[in-house]
Symmetry: C2
Subunit: 282 residues, 2 copies
């Protein structure tokens, strides 16, 4: 009996630890090993997974929603619902809330992050998703635009091929799921280091996280994330920044930013974003 | 008399301080303000400037040599010689050495850094240029390929749009003028952060210096450089690096690099590369 109780406590503990917020840099493998999508499926409960797909970032929500439904169906998910919400009012529909109450995983697709935040910010659906994800009750994944919205603020757009400057990055409000981070995606693939650094000069209290394609920063309990996938996760940490010209510089003036700490992390690397330090790799 | 001596000592001091090694990120303004080229002209002695142009990086050395000759002539240089050396043996020709003995400034053009180092490394001409520049007797400038060769090692080529990895950068021997640095040029313009970080993972004891177009890191006595020009100079400092997978990673594996310190410097910023710290701006 004691053993049974202990096992049950262990199950409970392992269930808590298994929940995760997965921030995916876009273009994740959908065909071969599907490492990242498989991890999301596992974290959502595997054969018991009840998955909500939020395709609202996309201009073709039905198509992209179906694509992910097929993938999670193939993996053996128990139930899947596509939240094809095209109007903010629809968010109050009881059917979404009934599904959310019993779901174990939520997946936000790519598209345009402004479209996604415009449709979903401060809706009852998104409030519930955020709350359940922050409580560790569900696995939450977002890829590309779905990753961009994770912070309190987000990079809505920007450029490359220029010295860091204020006009290189457009900033907007995010969905505030992990408030401490400022995410960029398709990161080294689209040469976005200068734009992330420009963004961090604007919000030096946030931790800059640049995620490559087919790569995921998986945030678990205890303020730790680990890296899964093919590319790298780049951390830009301004905690020790001694100087920046950000607030005063003209829009297109090159910025001066002194004392950033940068880490390039690969598959298996772990980072404690509470204490802002690298941990030993897995 | 005392006053005269003091003034003469001051002149001597100011002459020493005026000499400089100018590492230019390419595409420097040749038409309007010509800030960087004017600075080189001033540091070479202005109206008293005797300038050697080394065009050997270029496949069209006569054309590019003439272009810079016209510029420095227009500024009012006293004497200019184009070192259009097309064979390593020509380097021993007495005419170059006579000119080098009395010249006050040397300018290395852009082109292909492997072509430049292949033609000039360990020649009597380059040995003399390096020695006089290191003694502070001449101003030395190099732009683009002419900047790439400044370190003991150089970036000979590479790519962008990928996670940092060993195959992203080709490394070769440089001309060893400022041994402590590893230079990249056209830096943010061509999105070269990932390749410079990959290079620094290979040579963490070197200081990575990424220089944007129309921008110059001007190295003076006392191990200090200052930034001149339109863009930024990015410093990648691995002195506190705690981990890298560089030597062991497969060629195309993403690298893991922990604890880099990065500075973005703009016009007027000064950096002490002896103690590796920012100084107050000018």
């Amino acid at each position: 009996m004691l053993q049974l109780e202990s096992k049950s406590a262990q199950d409970e503990m392992s269930k808590i630890q298994k929940s995760a917020v997965m921030v995916i840099g876009g273009a994740e493998d959908k065909i071969h090993g599907r490492l990242i999508l498989q991890t999301f499926f596992q974290r959502s409960g595997a054969q018991d997974a009840i998955i909500a797909i939020i395709p609202c970032a996309s201009r073709e929500p039905a198509t992209i929603g179906d694509r992910y439904r097929t993938i999670f169906q193939d993996m053996g998910a128990k139930d899947i619902e596509i939240f094809d919400i095209r109007d903010r009012q629809e968010s109050d529909d009881e059917r979404w809330h009934e599904f959310l109450a019993r779901c174990t995983g939520v997946f936000m697709t790519g598209g345009d992050q402004l479209r996604l935040s415009g449709m979903m910010a401060a809706t009852t659906v998104m409030d519930k998703v955020r709350m359940r994800a922050q409580m560790g009750e569900i696995a939450l994944a977002g890829t590309s635009a779905g990753a961009a919205v994770m912070g309190e603020f987000m990079i809505a757009g920007g450029g490359s091929g220029e010295s860091p400057n204020r006009s290189l990055v457009d900033l907007a409000d995010g969905l505030d799921i992990i408030p401490e981070i400022l995410v960029d995606q398709h990161f080294h693939n689209r040469n976005r280091m200068a734009r992330l650094m420009s963004a961090i000069a604007a919000y030096p209290e946030k931790l800059g996280i640049g995620i490559d394609e087919d790569t995921c920063a998986m945030f678990e309990s205890d303020d730790v994330f680990q890296v899964i996938g093919k590319g790298t996760v780049t951390v830009v940490d301004a905690a020790e920044m001694t100087h920046t010209t950000y607030p005063d510089a003209e829009l297109t003036d090159p910025l001066s930013i002194h004392n950033l700490r940068v880490h390039i992390l690969k598959h298996g690397d772990r980072y404690d974003f509470g204490s802002r330090r690298m941990l030993s790799s897995l």
